[in-house]
């Protein structure tokens, strides 16, 4: 990526990069759609020898020789037995029966996590700079599990098995499905097994936002990553002859439209007979060339891919496109590498431009493309598409855990498909700009690799805690993180503990640590049957005999965020409940932390003790948070939540946990 290391505060002179030797001793397993190994991001220039403990392999397959691996790409395997057993043989005219990436997604995520430095990177001139992954010296091991027809759980489990055996340290998983009970969820099972072996699994939260309860990958032993913007934009100005102008975004970097006004038509008024009301969405075959030729076409966002609409407009003879967000997309602007001059505008601008077209006989417009700008404010802003809590499986565990850059991210790309991913886009690019929680997840995977490099003895839970308790929720304008879907203040249901801050995560002061037995007791607290529990424990762990019902309550899992759930019934008038947490001192031997708590509105909160005194490193201290709240009048089946904070501070550290209270 060309901008996010700077945005995240990573620099060569101090902090996480030099402290971790850029992750040189750390191996990141990427479970995705494969890799295009020849891209410069995967060259091994400047890398030390491969860690001797590595047991992985570079498997040969279609268009994939073992010699393609090097000191950067140290492993490449593909898993398709489940896929082929269910779907039949892989169609080798459209994809490779090997780890080679025909989609681009896996190449993008791998280079975001751990790509090497590449100078003069850009997408057709946009986002230009030196591309680099978060952990630029970490090693990449690719496990291809996703194919044109989807990703099969049997293949995914096989990849987890192999990654653990091979010896990866971090697993980056930018995939997911629906939320299932943990014992039915292969990602939960595979990642539990990885966690048992000391491997941190970083997963994407999903792109189901802004709907509540859309969050996925919610098991407490994975790090669940939401997506937000960075301080970079690709502005395009829509100018109307009535002197109105509207701000949009575009990756088009040319001057094809000049400065003249061009006839403008709303796609909804330019449909072929029989287009059945789909013309406004610029669906394939819906536009009448007689109405569109030589014009800029205003299309509504939805159903089909954004870039596909540009293809439809071009094929119908249009010379440009304005794409208008739907109400659910709000004012969030995602840039695409359209095949014609085009820009995306927010919902409000779309409505205004449509009003102008309706009120004008010969509507015209022009699009001015101004290239890449940085230093944009406010940033970060929560992506509208990023999946939201509350956690539908266990509201006692707040999800997502953190947010990271996931909008308009430049990273390496396959040579097999063009930047729009459309069949007719035959442009070959080295880098592409993509958006999704798939893009934010590998950022955090790379940061976790850096923390593993700097603190090799830290558990997966300690690394996760460091990233969570040091995260911030104030943007670069000094305001609370904004929600891109409605421009209101966002909540921990969208950003979790906040936006990752790797500068502070290197030295978090205190961590909320967890081991395998803690997670087993969490499952015991969910009243799992012996069979369900055995899918995780494999007979090696039991519910703690000395554990009390209190310690096995799911909310008492020693998680870096805190969630109270008041299960109100008809007779209930008041809730009083306590949650305990234990922090481990990883800062200075002699340190005293004092409490600064902000109770959720409508909730009385007490924390005991209010001071934590440590005499040595690795010392543990336990505290209790007690909340009291009255019942609320709710529609049956509905819920309400308020949010607070808990901070432990000494002279140099701020250890922050979000608190959620849900009625």
């Amino acid at each position: 990526t060309t901008r996010t290391p700077h945005f995240l505060g990573l620099n060569a002179s101090s902090g996480l990069w030099p402290s971790s030797n850029y992750g040189a001793d750390v191996i990141i397993g990427i479970m995705d759609s494969g890799i295009w190994p020849e891209k410069k991001s995967f060259w091994d220039t400047g890398l030390s020898p491969i860690p001797e403990r590595w047991k992985g392999e570079c498997e040969e397959g279609t268009d994939f020789k073992a010699s393609l691996c090097n000191k950067k790409l140290i492993g490449a395997r593909s898993f398709f037995k489940g896929y082929e057993a269910a779907m039949g043989p892989i169609n080798e005219t459209t994809e490779y029966r090997s780890a080679r990436d025909s989609e681009g997604h896996g190449t993008h995520t791998a280079s975001t996590a751990a790509g090497n430095y590449v100078r003069h990177a850009s997408l057709l001139g946009s986002a230009a700079g030196t591309a680099k992954g978060m952990a630029s010296h970490a090693r990449i091991a690719v496990y291809k599990v996703c194919w044109k027809g989807g990703c099969f759980n049997s293949d995914l489990l096989a990849a987890f098995e192999q990654a653990v055996i091979d010896g990866v340290d971090i697993i980056s998983l930018s995939i997911g499905g629906g939320v299932l009970p943990f014992f039915l969820d292969p990602i939960a099972i595979g990642s539990f097994g990885a966690m048992e072996k000391g491997i941190l699994v970083s997963t994407s939260a999903g792109n189901g936002g802004p709907s509540p309860l859309s969050i996925t990958n919610v098991s407490p032993w994975v790090l669940t990553v939401a997506a937000s913007t960075l301080d970079r934009d690709f502005p395009a100005l829509i100018r109307l002859p009535n002197h109105a102008h509207y701000r949009g975004v575009s990756l088009y970097d040319g001057n094809a439209l000049g400065r003249r006004q061009i006839p403008l038509v709303y796609a909804g008024n330019a449909g072929l007979p029989g287009s059945n009301g789909s013309a406004n969405l610029c669906m394939a075959g819906s536009l009448d060339p007689a109405d569109v030729k030589g014009k800029i076409v205003l299309c509504d966002r939805g159903i089909s891919a954004r870039a596909a609409k540009g293809m439809v407009v071009r094929d119908a003879g249009g010379v440009g496109m304005i794409l208008a967000n739907a109400l659910a997309n709000g004012e969030e602007l995602i840039a695409d590498s359209h095949v014609l001059p085009a820009a995306l505008v927010g919902y409000g601008a779309g409505v205004a431009i449509k009003d102008y077209i309706t009120q004008t006989d010969n509507a015209t417009a022009n699009i001015i493309f101004t290239g890449t700008v940085v230093g944009v404010r406010p940033a970060p802003v929560m992506a509208a598409f990023s999946s939201r809590g509350p956690n539908p499986a266990n509201p006692e565990i707040l999800k997502p855990d953190v947010t990271a850059p996931g909008v308009n991210i430049l990273a390496a790309w396959t040579s097999r498909v063009g930047p729009t991913e459309l069949p007719n886009d035959d442009r070959v690019v080295d880098f592409n700009i993509m958006s999704g929680t798939s893009m934010s997840c590998p950022h955090v995977s790379g940061l976790a690799a850096l923390l593993k490099g700097a603190h090799p003895d830290w558990s997966p839970a300690a690394i996760k805690s460091a990233l969570m308790t040091t995260a911030f929720n104030i943007d670069n304008s000094g305001n609370y993180l904004m929600d891109g879907s409605d421009s209101n203040i966002s909540t921990p249901f969208s950003f979790g503990a906040g936006h990752v801050n790797p500068v502070r995560a290197l030295n978090p002061g205190l961590v909320y640590d967890l081991d395998v037995q803690d997670y087993v007791d969490f499952l015991c607290g969910l009243n799992y049957s012996t069979s369900w529990l055995s899918t995780f424990t494999k007979g090696q762990y039991k519910c703690s005999e000395g554990g009390s019902a209190m310690s096995m309550r799911p909310e008492n899992l020693n998680y870096p965020s805190i969630s109270f759930v008041y299960k109100q019934d008809e007779n209930s008038t008041t809730y009083v409940g306590s949650i305990t947490r234990t922090v481990t001192n990883v800062g200075l031997p002699n340190s005293v932390y004092t409490l600064a708590a902000i109770p959720p509105p409508g909730v009385a909160m007490k924390v005991e003790p209010p001071t934590l005194s440590f005499g040595r490193l690795d010392e543990k201290k336990t505290f209790t948070v007690t909340c009291e709240a009255g019942a609320k009048s709710l529609v049956p089946g509905d819920s309400d939540s308020t949010f607070g904070s808990l901070l432990w501070t000494d002279d140099t550290h701020i250890v922050h946990s979000p608190i959620v209270f849900t009625w």
Binding site: D32, P186, S531
Partner: protein
């Protein structure tokens, strides 16, 4: 549609308790193949492990295997001693 094609096979993930592996087997794969042969109605000497056996054997992050089974075979597998769970591999997982 499911009733119209009752014999159609799909992929299942089978969780087992290795503590229940009969002592006549020295390796998990033998147990899995034998178990599959029993629910698929094959005599052990007819059972083609390559075609009818497990697609994958798992022994690290979970204990068990993946196999192609009919619904009836999957149901039969649930009553085999040592089988904990039989889960269809039909949950949609996609790139984010």
């Amino acid at each position: 549609a499911a009733q119209a094609a009752p014999a159609e096979a799909s992929i299942y993930i089978v969780h087992v308790s290795k503590a229940h592996m009969p002592p006549i087997f020295t390796e998990e794969e033998q147990w899995y193949s034998s178990t599959l042969a029993s629910v698929k109605g094959y005599e052990p000497q007819e059972f083609n492990r390559e075609q009818e056996g497990p697609i994958y054997s798992y022994g690290t992050v979970m204990h068990g295997f993946a196999a192609k089974l009919t619904e009836a075979q999957a149901e039969a597998l649930k009553s085999v001693n040592g089988v904990l769970l039989v889960i269809p591999d039909d949950a949609l997982v996609e790139l984010h």
